[in-house]
Amino acid sequence: MSEFGKIRATINGQTYDLSVALNETLLELLRYRLALTGTKSGCETGDCGACTVLVSGKAVNSCLVLAVEIDGASVTTIEGLSAGGELHPLQQAFIDHGAVQCGFCAPGIIMAAKSLLDEEPRPSEEEIRTAIAGNLCRCTGYLSIVKAIAAAAEVLRGGDKR
């Protein structure tokens, strides 16, 4: 039986005081303690990216982060992108460009894209592909995903591309 540690973290804008098992991963904390099941468990080894979330603004594989490590940090999950019930331009662009088929990779790949656009508002196709290189998709072949991210980037820059 493992021991517990106390952490305070801000997740999707809300601050939580939590008691977590020392060997609990951030992914487990999100899905099982907070019922934020948008973030998916895929490979559990950092290869597929389905568990991607932002910790202090940086995209990481939450399956490889211990829950205790987010003490004092802010975390953003896919649920945090649609604040107030309105879809983020990335989410809307994925729908508009047919970039979601089974949907399993989508939350992780959208969080990776969000991290890219936060750093680089005008990414080239190569920069987009590099940013999502850590996310695997079995359905789409990535082309619609790349187009959706480029379209969302333009919306965020003030244009309106449907």
């Binding site: 080894t45 995209a59 990481v60 982060v65 990776a112 850590g134």
Partner: protein, 259 residues
């Protein structure tokens, strides 16, 4: 983390050292860049200071893994894990880096070429790696890093990697100094000493490049056949990549004779 989840590593107690301030800084000091062991590979790759003073290291660490991995992988971790394919090792070997180790017996500084003992093994003995120190390379030199992966995205593990730093002599006709390091071609990352010797003082050109790349493949490399590639393929690739690296470095040297 991955090995712990697979049950290959088991610890009763883990101490998180990532929040110690000195471990997280990148500082220039007297011509040496001091990289804290806990600085992430992505932070180093994107650091304006590293991009300007150590572009070879910036490029290599940008290819270490996906964005998600780069935001967690640290330079200390990459070295202590001591994979023969570690992406930080060939550039740091070529740049003449040293590591600072702290343990019960005190502090010591170990040149990186003496640090690795074998796959997953280093000279550390109940010690902690706190810093990587990288001297600024001579300004007239040019460097290149190549990493061959299984798919088009180079962020996967290296089948073969080559870091090369070349300094021409004052006339630009001969190599004054050459440092070449190879990854995934031996039990540890290594300097290609036979290839280097074949180039030092030699005319910059096709003949010396062909001689050196052949020596890198035949004498310096000691590859294995594994799930990713055969030894024969690795040798063929290192010969090609060393030659291409020499061609590229030559192209970047102003006034050097062309290959």
């Amino acid at each position: 983390m991955v090995k712990m989840k697979e049950g290959k590593l088991r610890y009763g107690v883990l101490v998180d050292i990532k929040r110690i301030p000195e471990m997280g800084s990148i500082r220039p000091e007297n011509g040496v860049i001091r990289l804290g062991a806990a600085v992430t590979s992505r932070a180093i790759a994107r650091s304006p200071l590293v991009r300007e003073r150590l572009p070879l290291l910036s490029r290599a660490l940008g290819l270490l893994g996906s964005m998600q991995i780069g935001n967690r992988a640290t330079i200390g971790g990459n070295l202590c894990n001591a994979s023969p394919a570690a992406d930080s090792a060939p550039p740091l070997l070529v740049l003449g880096a040293s590591v600072k180790l702290i343990g019960a017996r005190g502090e010591r500084k170990v040149p990186l070429e003496n640090f690795f003992l074998g796959p997953g093994k280093t000279v550390m003995d109940r010690e902690m790696l706190t810093e990587v120190q990288v001297p600024s390379p001579p300004s007239q030199g040019r460097a290149v890093f190549y990493k061959l992966g299984l798919r088009a995205a180079p962020e996967d593990i290296a089948l073969v990697s080559v870091a090369l730093f070349g300094v021409p002599d004052a006339g630009g006709k001969n190599w004054q100094d050459l440092r070449i390091a190879l990854g995934a071609l031996a039990p540890t990352a290594i300097r290609a000493l036979h290839a280097e010797e074949a180039l030092r003082g030699q005319p910059i050109g096709r003949k010396s490049a062909e001689d050196a790349s052949r020596l890198a493949a035949e004498k310096d490399s000691d590859p294995i056949t594994d799930i990713r590639a055969s030894a024969k393929y690795r040798r063929a690739m290192v010969e090609l990549l060393v030659r291409r690296a020499l061609e590229q470095v030559t192209r970047e040297i102003p006034g050097a004779s062309k290959l």
